[in-house]
Symmetry: C2
Subunit: 143 residues, 2 copies
């Protein structure tokens, strides 16, 4: 029998922002963050992202690449930016998806490769106290 499904570490908090350079400057100049990754485009997701590395977790800064971006409307509604999602690690994404569905949650789309190179899915905010939850397969190996 496989072990019961449970979420693992809080991998990151996703913050949607109108401008990555401005947001990076905030974390660097105001909060003194010293380890911020280089921004990179994820055209399939319609976003440009970078990570503020903290000792135990990360802030994912996300800027829409265009008006087609899934976060475009969010940034229109929140012109300064705002908390967009919380990401928990899971051992196996396919196991997670079937558990979520079995338990009545609405899984958004099919598993796809996320910013850490492992498969992810999102669970609808209506299932989790208004919070959009990303589930991400824990990176194996050098992460």
């Amino acid at each position: 029998m496989s072990k019961p499904f449970t979420i693992g570490p809080l991998n990151h908090v996703g913050v949607a922002v109108p401008s990555l350079p401005d947001a990076i400057e905030t974390y660097r100049a105001l909060y003194g963050a010293t380890d911020i990754t280089e921004p990179f485009d994820m055209p399939a997701q319609g976003v440009k992202v970078c990570f503020v590395n903290l000792p135990n977790s990360q802030i994912e800064l996300i800027e829409p690449l265009s008006e087609e971006s899934p976060i475009w409307n969010f940034v229109q509604k929140n012109p300064k930016g705002g908390q967009h999602h919380v990401c928990f690690e899971v051992d196996d994404i396919h196991d997670a998806v079937s558990v979520m569905k079995e338990r009545g949650a609405t899984v958004l789309g099919e598993p796809r490769i996320g910013a850490h190179g492992t498969p992810i899915i999102f669970v609808h905010p209506k299932n989790s106290n208004g919070v959009l939850i990303e589930l991400m397969e824990t990176p194996k190996g050098d992460h």
Copy 2:
């Protein structure tokens, strides 16, 4: 010379919810969380809170105690709940407050004792990409 100011670990993500028991049930039944603390009232802050303990961090679930609660309006606007704040640890709260002010940020109120028993302050969302940031002095000793 003291070391330069920087934020430490991501202590927790604060999620405001209309009902702690329902939110606890979500984390237990849907996400399989097994370590959730007993809810307790913080009358001075107008909230009842509990923590979902994850291997590296926590989700703080927060329910307003009354209409006077500072999160009452947030829950009215977000009736299912929603991400309310992100909390970073700092070495020294008084140092953090003076650095924040020196750097032009709006610190909300004076340091007060937070849910972990150490002093906290909040930084206005306008200073941090629309995200309300809590700074919390790292608990010393048995934490």
